[in-house]
Every structure is written in structure tokens, then in C-alpha cells.
């Protein structure tokens, strides 16, 4: 059992969990009716973009693109693949050092993949502004470089709990840097970029060799790794949103199953093929109907849809009342 094996298992375990979460939300009917048509539409639009058939994109100012890219930076996370067991099982800190090196490599690979994708999306827009392929590529490298520095610095600031002015200053410098690149101000871009490099070197001094903040790093990594599943599952209604407070501000109501019951029922409804497929067929039919049916006869279509919805609601409530899960929940909370 080598350290690399355990790291590979950790990443594989995490990616498998993510895949399972996606599969839980999107089964084949949603992919067939929703995802595949959307992908075809987007690919078609992207092709039109390359052909220069979306000239209004040229009107969008460069600062707007810079803000969008900055938001993309801010969404990103830098973390190390450390677990509590790394710290407790063996006192030898070499394991942590090696894990950190692997984590940096992983983060770099993920950043390269992500920013190649972003550059691919932005390339036709830059072509509209008469940028050459070479300039676009240089811009891509610059983007990757600054995004990575930004991520690393943000991680350092979060872990070391730096002053809030530093935390504000960093996005501001990043935004200026991207805008300077987009607006062809190379000297400013160079100055800001090299400043960030220097800052990164200072901030990350000794990071790979000393582990003074190891418990914070472990907690941060756990938060980041579970945030994907949690946000996806809680917004989909499968999970209740986790309470991050240590204790509630007020005493919770004795029966908190109401909202969970409702979200679970909705989820169950969406995940039941007969119910879901009814709407997947009815909605395109209704849209086509409204487009094709002449004059005031169009009004009949939403009325009919509303009637079907009401019937569905009543039928599903009765179905749920017989459902063993909700019967057991009611039995426990009454």
C-alpha cells in the first residue's frame, strides 16, 4: 500500500460519489428529453457564433467579460486532499507533505482542463474582436496562470484568516489584471501579474514543508469536498439544508417533518416515470398548441393544462397517503 494508491482511491471515491449524485438527479428520461436537446441547441448556437452570426456579442464591453471571468475564479476552490486520518493514524508528517504535492498537481490539471474549456467558449467572441489565434492562446495561458494564482492565494487567505482588506484586494487585482489583458494594456497586466506571483511566493512560503494549519486544512478540504453533494442534494430537495450554526437561535418547532415531507413528495412525483413523462409530453404539446391554434382558442390550452394539473395533484395526494414511507413518518411524528 503506497501513498499514491491511497490518494488515487480517495479521488476515485470522491468522483464516484459525484457521479452517483448526478445519476440520482438525472435518469435516462431527463437526459433524453432535456439534456440531449439542450446540448444540440448549444452546439448549433456555438457553430453560429464561429460563423459570426451573432454580431451583438461584439457590443458587450470587455469589462463585462472580465467580470464574468472573475466570477468564474471566485467559484473555484483550492484545497488539499487531506483527511483527519492522515493526521491521526501516523504522526509522521511526510504523508501530509506528499498529499499536498499530489493535491497541487491535481488542482493544476483540473484548472488546465477547466480553462481550456473556458477559452474554447470565449474564442469566437475574441475572434469577433479581430484577435489572432496566437493572441487568443497567449490570453488563455495568461488566464490559466492568473486563475491558478488567484485560487492559491484565496486558499492561503482563507486558511490563515487574513484581514478582510486583503481578501477584497485580491479579487480587485485579479479583475484589473483580466481587464488589462482584454483591453490590450500589456504593461499593467505584466505589473499586476508579477505582483501576484511575488505575493503567492510570500503567502505560500513553506506551505509544502510546514503544516502549522493542518487542522484547518483538513476541515476546509472536508467542507469543499462535501459542498458539491450537499448543494446539489439539498437544492434538489433530497436533503434538508445542513445547519451550519452550532446551536439554533430559537427552539425549533416540535415537528419539522412538514417541509421535508413536502419536498420528498415533490421529488417522488418528479421521479415517478408515469407522472414525469405526462408533463414531458404535455408541455411540448401545449407550447406547440399555443403556437398553432388560432385566436382565442389558445386560452383553452392553459385551462386544460390547469385541469390536468389539479387532477394530478389530487390523485398524487391520495397515492402519497397510502405510501408506506409517509405513513411511517406520520406514525412517528403524530
Amino acid at each position: 500500500m503506497r501513498i499514491r494508491d491511497i490518494w488515487v482511491r480517495r479521488v476515485r471515491h470522491h468522483l464516484t460519489n459525484q457521479w452517483k449524485t448526478w445519476r440520482l438527479l438525472f435518469d435516462w428520461t431527463i437526459i433524453l428529453y432535456g439534456v440531449i436537446p439542450l446540448v444540440i441547441f448549444l452546439v448549433y448556437q456555438y457553430r453560429l457564433l464561429w460563423q459570426g452570426e451573432r454580431p451583438w456579442l461584439e457590443e458587450i464591453p470587455m469589462i463585462a467579460w472580465a467580470v464574468m471571468l472573475l466570477l468564474l475564479f471566485l467559484l473555484d476552490h483550492f484545497f488539499v486532499w487531506l483527511e483527519r486520518a492522515d493526521v491521526t493514524l501516523v504522526a509522521d508528517r511526510a504523508l501530509i507533505g506528499i498529499m499536498k504535492r499530489y493535491s497541487v498537481g491535481y488542482q493544476l490539471v483540473m484548472s488546465v482542463v477547466k480553462y481550456i474549456f473556458v477559452l474554447g467558449l470565449m474564442a469566437p467572441v475574441l475572434r469577433l474582436h479581430d484577435w489572432s489565434i496566437a493572441t487568443i492562446l497567449v490570453f488563455g495561458f495568461g488566464l490559466l496562470f492568473i486563475a491558478w494564482l488567484h485560487m492559491w492565494l484565496r486558499y492561503m487567505l482563507e486558511i490563515r484568516r487574513s484581514h478582510w482588506i486583503l481578501r477584497l484586494l485580491l479579487p480587485f487585482i485579479s479583475l484589473s489584471w483580466i481587464y488589462a489583458l482584454l483591453a490590450n494594456v500589456p504593461l499593467l497586466a505584466f505589473l499586476l501579474g508579477s505582483g501576484m506571483v511575488a505575493w503567492t511566493l510570500v503567502a505560500s512560503e513553506g506551505w509544502l514543508s510546514t503544516h502549522a494549519y493542518v487542522s484547518r486544512e483538513v476541515e476546509h478540504a472536508a467542507e469543499v469536498r462535501t459542498s458539491f453533494d450537499r448543494s446539489l442534494l439539498s437544492t434538489s430537495g433530497i436533503l434538508e439544508k445542513p445547519n451550519l450554526r452550532k446551536r439554533p437561535f430559537y427552539r425549533p418547532a416540535p415537528n419539522r417533518f412538514g417541509s421535508v415531507q413536502r419536498t420528498l413528495a415533490l421529488l417522488l412525483y418528479v421521479r415517478t416515470p408515469s407522472h414525469r413523462n405526462l408533463w414531458l409530453r404535455l408541455i411540448p404539446l401545449a407550447i406547440t398548441g399555443i403556437l398553432l391554434v388560432p385566436s382565442w382558442f389558445k386560452v383553452l390550452i392553459p385551462i386544460y393544462i390547469g385541469y390536468v394539473g389539479l387532477q394530478e395533484r389530487n390523485a398524487f395526494i391520495k397515492e402519497m397517503q397510502r405510501h408506506p414511507f409517509f405513513r411511517s413518518v406520520r406514525g412517528r411524528t403524530d
Binding site: 500500500m1 501513498i3 471515491h13 486520518a85 511526510a94 504523508l95 503544516h211 494549519y213
Partner: protein
């Protein structure tokens, strides 16, 4: 092992423990005692370097740590844990490992995930993983929680055996009668600071509780 903690805590720079200083020498068992929430586990977190902030110095040699709550990898079996620990520490003690597996009756489950073990089995697996590291010091945090009577006796014997092999052991516990029987010296932590330290007799003298057991001493101090 020399420990000097001026201040340490978890967040907002509010100290949870302060002014704790002691030494752990080879060949002795030092009992860290105190009531719940006194700061014993926080002191151990300082030794293992898992406390968010600390002012002070820790001069620790090679140690192995047995935490209060078993911490392990969900995706590794017991045999894989053993392989990882021996690889990382560079110790190869297959005979000792086999002995301990047999002693703790974990032979049959060595290729199972630790996550599937019962609480007591998990605790035994953690003790095994610490003992095979052949470290100079052992930090043992509440080791008797969740163990059956037979395993508790086995563990006590093992700790005595490790002491006779020249290892320094820090035993954090609030099971006072066991600590009384086993430990050479004590460190009494109360409300985040050291209340007393030394042998039982030295503690009696400093707390003016002549002729009393550890349990009675603690009750006496609580009543003051």
C-alpha cells in the same frame, strides 16, 4: 517529550487552555486526569498539532496516537491500514502484528473495511495500528471507552508491557481507579489549566488531601 503550552484554542483567538507544562520520559506512564471539558483532549490536540492555534513549544519525539473516537480511512481494509502504517513508519513487525491481531481477535476480519466493525472492534484496530508503529511515545486518549472487560484487561497489560520496553505513555482518562492503578505520575487539568502534577503523594501534599484516593481528591476539590 517536553510540552510548554502558553495558550491554545480553536477559534477567535480565545484560549481554551493555558499555562500547561510537563515532561514525558521514557519508561513511565503519565496519567492526564480531569473532569469532562477540562481541556485534556485539547492538550492532546496541541501535542498532535491538530489545534487551530497555539502559543508555546512542543518538543515531541516519534509518537503514536490513539484517539478517543477511532479515525480511519473508510475505503481501506484493516490489512491495508496495517500495510500503509508499516510503509509510512518504515517498521516491519509481522510477528508482532500477528500477535496483536490474535490477541484482539481481529484475524478473521483483517480483510474487511474498518467502517463495518463494531465500536469496540474499531477501538481495538486503532490500538493495534498505534502499537505496530514502534514509536518512542504513546498518546492514548480515553482508551477504555467502548471496550469489553477482557479487552480492557488486555490493554492494561499491553500498556504495562510497553512501559517495560522503555516507552513513554501519556494516558488521558477520567476512569480514575484504572489511572490510579497504572500511572506513575499524574497531570490534573482543571478549567483549562494545570491544577496539580506529580506522583499521587505529591498531589495529595499540594492539594492538602492527605490519605485520599484520586476519586476522593477530585470530589474534595469539586466541593471547594
Amino acid at each position: 517529550m517536553k510540552i510548554q503550552i502558553n495558550q491554545a484554542g480553536y477559534g477567535n483567538q480565545e484560549p481554551v487552555i493555558h499555562d500547561i507544562a510537563f515532561e514525558l520520559n521514557p519508561g513511565e506512564i503519565v496519567g492526564m486526569i480531569g473532569s469532562n471539558g477540562a481541556g485534556k483532549s485539547t492538550t492532546v490536540a496541541c501535542l498532535t498539532g491538530t489545534i487551530p492555534w497555539m502559543q508555546g513549544t512542543i518538543d515531541s519525539g516519534r509518537y503514536a496516537y490513539i484517539p478517543e473516537q477511532p479515525i480511519y480511512y473508510d475505503y481501506l481494509t484493516l490489512a491495508e491500514h496495517i500495510a500503509l502504517v508499516t510503509e509510512l513508519t518504515g517498521t516491519s513487525v509481522p510477528r508482532r502484528t500477528e500477535e496483536l491481531l490474535r490477541l484482539f481477535r481481529l484475524e478473521a476480519v483483517r480483510h474487511d473495511y474498518i467502517a463495518s466493525f463494531s465500536k469496540g472492534m474499531k477501538q481495538k484496530a486503532m490500538i493495534l495500528l498505534a502499537l505496530i508503529q514502534e514509536a518512542d511515545y504513546l498518546l492514548v486518549d480515553e482508551p477504555f471507552v467502548g471496550l469489553d472487560a477482557t479487552t480492557t484487561i488486555q490493554l492494561l497489560r499491553l500498556l504495562e508491557e510497553e512501559r517495560s520496553r522503555g516507552k513513554g505513555i501519556l494516558l488521558v482518562t477520567h476512569v480514575l481507579d484504572t489511572a490510579d492503578r497504572l500511572c506513575d505520575r499524574f497531570i490534573w487539568i482543571d478549567t483549562g489549566a494545570m491544577l496539580a502534577s506529580g506522583t499521587k503523594q505529591q498531589m495529595r501534599e499540594s492539594l492538602e488531601t492527605e490519605g485520599k484516593t484520586l476519586f476522593d481528591m477530585m470530589e474534595d476539590v469539586a466541593m471547594r
